[in-house]
C-alpha cells in the first residue's frame, strides 16, 4: 500500500477572495509543505471537479498554475465521494509504479463564487435528467425522501432520530479553528431552525462553503508522521434514488472490501471520518457500516457514542455539517482530519490512542461509496 506523507486543509466558510483554482493551489501548497515535497517532485496529480470552474481538465489547469509537470494527470468526478476516490486512485498509481509521489487536490469557491440558486440547480443534476430532474427535486429533497422513509420505518421523529447527530458534529467543530460553524447547538435548536425539506431543517443540512483540501500520497513513508493507507474499497450499486436499495446503498460492501484488504475488523478502528452532508446521510452510513443499530444512530449520538471520548469517535473536525462543505474538498476534509488524528496532532480535539482510522464517503444520493482504512506510522501517537 501507500503512505500519506502530507496533508493540507484550509479553513472553510464564506470566504471571498479566492476562485476555485486559488483554493486548490492554497490547499496543494499546504500539503506539499507538510510533506516536504517540492512541485518538481510530484509525478502524479489528481484534481477533483469544481462546479464554479466547470473545466474539462482540472488537473492540467492546476499543474500549469503550480509549475508541476506530472507523468500522470487526471480530473475526477464521483460527487461527494470524489476526494476519497482520488486518494484510492493515487494508491493504485503508486502501487502500480506509474507514479511515486501523487498530489491529490480539491478546492472550490462554492459559497462565494456562485449564487445559492445556481449551486442548488447544479447539484440537482445528480437526479435522472429525463425522469427526476423535471419533477424539480433538489439534493436536500432527495435526502429528505431518504429521511422520510427512514423515520417512518423506525418510528422515529426528526428530533430523536436525526437532530442529535447535528448536535454532536457541532460540539466537535467548536474545537477546530477552521470550522465554519462553532457555536454549540441543541436538538431543540435543530428542530427550531428553518425548514428546508421536510423532515430536514437548516441545521440538518451542511452549509455551502469555500475551501480546499489536499494530500500527498507516496510509495514510501519518509518519516514517522506518515500515515499508511492499509486498505481501500468501493461500491457503486445505483445512481438514482428510483433504483436505490434503501437497505443496501453500498457502504457495507465498500467498507467490507476496504477492511478485508486491510486485515482490520471495524471494532479495531479508533477514529472515523464519515460523510455527513445531511444528518440522514450520517445516520444511514453509521448504520450500514454497523456502527449503530438500525434506527439507532440518533440515540447513539445522544448517548455520546460518537463523541471524541466515546467508543466510536466520528468526525472530530465537525464534519460537513459544521466544518463545512466546499464540494470535493468537503469530503477530503474527513480524510485530512483522520490523518491529523493518527499523527497525534489534533490538539484540543485529539482522540486518545488513535492508531487506526476509517474514512467513508458517498456521492450522489447515497450512490457512490468509497472507503479507506488508515494506520498511524509505527511509533506515532
Amino acid at each position: 500500500m501507500a503512505w500519506i506523507r502530507g496533508a493540507g486543509l484550509t479553513a472553510f466558510g464564506r470566504l471571498p477572495g479566492r476562485d476555485a483554482l486559488g483554493w486548490q493551489a492554497t490547499a496543494a501548497t499546504l500539503a506539499m509543505a507538510d510533506a516536504g515535497t517540492r512541485p518538481r517532485d510530484v509525478d502524479g496529480l489528481i484534481v477533483g471537479y469544481a462546479t464554479t470552474l466547470d473545466h474539462l481538465m482540472p488537473a492540467n489547469l492546476l499543474a500549469e498554475y503550480l509549475g508541476i509537470t506530472p507523468a500522470v494527470a487526471l480530473g475526477a468526478a464521483v460527487g461527494g465521494a470524489t476526494g476519497v476516490a482520488m486518494v484510492v486512485q493515487a494508491v493504485a498509481l503508486v502501487d502500480s509504479g506509474a507514479a511515486s509521489t501523487v498530489l491529490v487536490v480539491a478546492g472550490e469557491d462554492r459559497a462565494s463564487g456562485q449564487s445559492t440558486q445556481t449551486s442548488t440547480a447544479t447539484l440537482a443534476q445528480v437526479g435522472h435528467r429525463r425522469y427526476e430532474v423535471p419533477i424539480g427535486a433538489t439534493v436536500p429533497q432527495y435526502y429528505a425522501l431518504l429521511a422520510s422513509a427512514y423515520l417512518h420505518e423506525h418510528g422515529l421523529t426528526p428530533g430523536d432520530g436525526l437532530a442529535p447527530l447535528a448536535v454532536a458534529m457541532r460540539a466537535h467543530a467548536a474545537r477546530h479553528d477552521g470550522a465554519q460553524f462553532r457555536t454549540p447547538v441543541t436538538a431543540a435548536d435543530v428542530r427550531a431552525s428553518r425548514p428546508v425539506a421536510d423532515p430536514l431543517n437548516l441545521l440538518d443540512c451542511c452549509p455551502v462553503s469555500d475551501g480546499g483540501a489536499a494530500v500527498v500520497v507516496s510509495a514510501t513513508a519518509g518519516g514517522g508522521r506518515a500515515v499508511e493507507i492499509v486498505g481501500t474499497g468501493q461500491a457503486h450499486l445505483h445512481q438514482h434514488i428510483s433504483e436505490a436499495d434503501m437497505h443496501e446503498f453500498g457502504a457495507r460492501v465498500s467498507a467490507g472490501r476496504a477492511l478485508a484488504r486491510a486485515g482490520v475488523r471495524i471494532g479495531e478502528v479508533d477514529v472515523f471520518g464519515i460523510y455527513d452532508s445531511f444528518t440522514i446521510t450520517l445516520a444511514l452510513l453509521l448504520e450500514e457500516l454497523g456502527l449503530a443499530r438500525p434506527g439507532g444512530a440518533g440515540a447513539a449520538a445522544s448517548e455520546g457514542r460518537f463523541d471524541l471520548d466515546g467508543p466510536i469517535p466520528v468526525n472530530p473536525h465537525g464534519g460537513l455539517l459544521s466544518y463545512g462543505h466546499c464540494g470535493v474538498g468537503g469530503g477530503m476534509a474527513h480524510l485530512v482530519e483522520i490523518v491529523t488524528q493518527l499523527r497525534g496532532e489534533s490538539g484540543g480535539r485529539q482522540v486518545a490512542r488513535a492508531r487506526q482510522g476509517l474514512v467513508h464517503a458517498d456521492g450522489g444520493v447515497m450512490s457512490a461509496h468509497v472507503t479507506a482504512v488508515l494506520r498511524a506510522a509505527r511509533g506515532a501517537t
Binding site: 423535471p134 419533477i135 429528505a144 429521511a147 422520510s148 421536510d198
Partner: protein, 107 residues
C-alpha cells in the same frame, strides 16, 4: 420505445425484460440485469408512498407502483409514507410537459 410522460404522453411506461422478467422505470435500450430485449407496459398508476417531502419547490413523493417500479413524482401535501395513491398528470407554469402527480387513493 413507447412514448411516456417525458415525451408529452400522460402515462408511465414500465419496461419489462423479455428474457429475465426484470422490470424498471428509467428508460434504457436493454435490460440492465441481463442485456435482454425490452418490452413495455403502461402502468395502472396505483401504488404506495415510500417517502415524501415538501420543500421550497413543492411536495414530492417516491412511490412504489403495483407494477413493480419506484417512481418520483409531485404530490399533495397530506400524503405520508404508507399512503395508498393514484397517479394523475399535472403541468405547472414552468413545465414543458405534464408530470406525474400522486394523490390519495380515497380522494
Amino acid at each position: 420505445m413507447t412514448a411516456d410522460w417525458t415525451d408529452g404522453e400522460p402515462r408511465i411506461v414500465v419496461s419489462v425484460c423479455a428474457a429475465c422478467g426484470h422490470r424498471w422505470y428509467l428508460r434504457r435500450a436493454q435490460c440492465p440485469n441481463c442485456g435482454g430485449s425490452v418490452s413495455s407496459t403502461t402502468s395502472a398508476g396505483v401504488g404506495t408512498v415510500v417517502a415524501v417531502t415538501s420543500g421550497e419547490r413543492g411536495a414530492i413523493a417516491l412511490v412504489d407502483l403495483v407494477d413493480g417500479v419506484r417512481v418520483l413524482g409531485r404530490c399533495g401535501s397530506s400524503l405520508r409514507p404508507g399512503s395508498a395513491v393514484r397517479l394523475r398528470f399535472q403541468a405547472g407554469a414552468d413545465d414543458p410537459v405534464a408530470v406525474p402527480f400522486f394523490e390519495a387513493e380515497s380522494s
